[in-house]
């Protein structure tokens, strides 16, 4: 699975023998925004876990749609509409390939990971979770993989159980096994932690959940941009991600669900496009995925996402992951040499996310000063208050790397931290 691919390219950074070595210099020109300056300085964009930048190919695909392809889908007999429908459905097939789902009917377009989780909690959860049932989450979850389950638990009288983490930010798997029991209906876990970077052993966790008779949801918002994903290898029942974190536009995301489960789920929202026949007495619903796509969808978003997946595939996620791991090592080495800096989250399996605190400055002040140096990082709780509580800190500063980041970006961050020291040290 994906995790092992990353591991094999870690360390000395020997590239895979078949693919040529990746250099960000070859592709930085594809990203218009990376050519900008911030406060008169070169922009070092290190907030990729919040959202990624967009290559020209994605921007062009969206522009092309509105310039020459725009029509509503699934309703016209004229050429433009039929073409738009075909392009939209081709985007669905593109997503299927990208995550290796069995059938494109298992791919539902949604607004993002958040909406995908809400859809599952409302539709599947509403139909299947009863009083006294249990749902297992982890301490590492983003609020979007906590709150919908909390809302469901409240409605259904169900109980949430939480897998704890150890001091380096890894899930305690023995505790997880103890939490699994015949009342467990669902295990919903993040693949990669956006706050700490921890890569969770989802394949193994899914196997354990299935053995206990529970379904599984994997939040792939942070894994899809960094690791090759194979939902059949992971064997999860639901997989969700957002387009904007993988070089696609905002407002488009994906819910993957195993087909029999998806077909059995009741609709999420009602409206046009999700029906077969409507009378005032009764409506029959279209089969999935249309059943879950009420109303005019984000057509240009779907095309933009397909263009982004093409772009990423063109480079190769193996090469992207390998390069990011090298850059992560470089950054961690440099940052550990900054006096008073402590990295929060040092899991053995980690994506290119570095959360840190400084002994002498609050993360929010760090963020403001770095901004003045052209360095964009995120500060705060990263929508993961339970993680912050676990470490007894209110917030961290977080640098999250993408394949278009360079050592120069990291050096600019480190230099910026010198400035912080100058002001606060």
């Amino acid at each position: 699975m994906a995790v092992t691919t990353v591991k094999s390219t870690r360390g000395q950074g020997s590239p895979t023998p078949l693919a040529p070595a990746f250099s960000p210099d070859d592709i930085r020109g594809d990203f218009p925004i990376l050519q900008l300056t911030a406060h008169g300085r070169r922009l070092a964009y290190l907030d990729n876990a919040a959202t990624s930048q967009k290559p020209q190919a994605v921007i062009a695909a969206i522009t092309r749609f509105y310039n020459s392809q725009n029509a509503n889908i699934h309703r016209g007999v004229y050429q433009l509409s039929m073409e738009a429908t075909a392009t939209y459905e081709a985007a669905r097939e593109r997503v299927r390939q990208f995550i290796n789902a069995t059938d494109s009917r298992e791919i539902v377009f949604v607004r993002g990971a958040t909406e995908a989780i809400n859809l599952v909690a409302t539709s599947w959860g509403g139909a299947n979770v009863r009083s006294g049932d249990e749902i297992i989450l982890s301490t590492l979850e983003h609020h979007s993989n906590i709150v919908p389950w909390q809302m469901l638990a409240k409605r259904a009288g169900a109980v949430l159980r939480v897998i704890p983490i150890n001091d380096v930010g890894e899930l305690c798997l023995d505790e997880y096994e103890k939490l699994l029991n015949p009342r467990t209906r669902l295990v919903a876990i993040t693949h990669v932690s956006n706050a700490l970077g921890t890569i969770n052993p989802v394949q193994r966790m899914v196997r354990l959940a299935h053995a206990a008779g529970a379904l599984t949801l994997v939040d792939g918002a942070q894994s899809v941009p960094h690791l090759p994903i194979d939902v059949r290898a992971i064997d999860c029942d639901f997989f969700v991600f957002s387009g904007h974190k993988i070089c696609g536009p905002t407002g488009i995301g994906v819910l993957y669900a195993r087909e029999p489960i998806l077909q059995a789920m009741p609709p999420y929202q009602g409206g046009g496009d999700m029906i077969e026949t409507v009378t005032f007495d009764q409506t029959t619903y279209a089969p999935a995925p249309q059943k879950f796509e009420a109303g005019t969808p984000n057509i240009s978003g779907a095309l933009g996402l397909a263009a982004a997946l093409d772009y990423i595939t063109g480079i190769g996620l193996d090469r992207i992951g390998g390069y990011e791991q090298q850059l992560l090592l470089y950054a961690q080495e440099k940052l550990t040499r900054v006096k008073g800096l402590k990295i929060v989250g040092t899991a053995a399996e980690k994506a290119a996310v570095i959360s840190f605190v400084l002994a002498y400055a609050h993360p929010h002040d760090v963020g403001t000063i770095l901004d003045g140096q052209g360095v964009a990082i995120r500060t705060g709780h990263h929508c993961c208050q339970p993680v912050m509580d676990r470490y007894g800190i209110p917030a961290t500063a977080r640098a999250s790397l993408a394949f278009y980041n360079t050592r120069e970006d990291v050096d600019q961050l480190v230099l910026g931290l010198e400035k912080v020291k100058e002001v606060f040290g």
Partner: protein
């Protein structure tokens, strides 16, 4: 960089590192909690009022440099002030941070607090600077619900 120096003035850094009146008040008549979810700042403000005059004001908690310094300097500015004066100072302070318009009367009222003028250039930080003040208001109104700046 010039904006940054405006923001992190020496006085502000000094108060952030060594906050004044940084203690609880066990017998205090009023206390309230303030929380800024954006940066995770949490303050508790204590205030003792007698005959319409602020006899003592203090705070505890943790936050960024701006919110800590603002709380610290607020306590210094308000000790011994009447409630009406305190309100007038807060209004001037708020104007300073948001509109930048201030008349001579504001300058007089603000005194040292004028060093927070630089915050105006950093709109996301305005909430840090006003957290202590909103919390104080809640304490004075005896509000039980924690104050949130969002």
């Amino acid at each position: 960089m010039s904006d940054l120096r405006e923001l992190y003035q020496e006085v502000i850094l000094d108060h952030a590192k060594k906050p004044r009146n940084f203690h609880t008040m066990p017998d205090s008549a009023h206390a309230a909690d303030g929380h800024n979810p954006l940066c995770g700042d949490r303050l508790r403000v204590f205030v003792r009022v007698e005959n319409g005059v602020i006899e003592d004001v203090s705070f505890t908690g943790s936050g960024c440099a701006i919110s800590t310094a603002s709380a610290s300097m607020m306590t210094e500015a308000l000790n011994g002030k009447s409630l009406a004066d305190a309100q007038a100072i807060f209004e001037s302070f708020h104007n300073l941070l948001t509109t930048g318009n201030h008349a001579d009367k504001d300058e007089e009222l603000l005194g040292k607090l004028a060093v927070f003028g630089g915050v105006r250039e950093f709109p996301v930080r305005v909430k840090c600077a006003t957290l202590a003040w909103h919390t104080l208001q809640a304490a004075l109104q005896g509000s039980a619900a924690p104050v949130k700046t969002e």
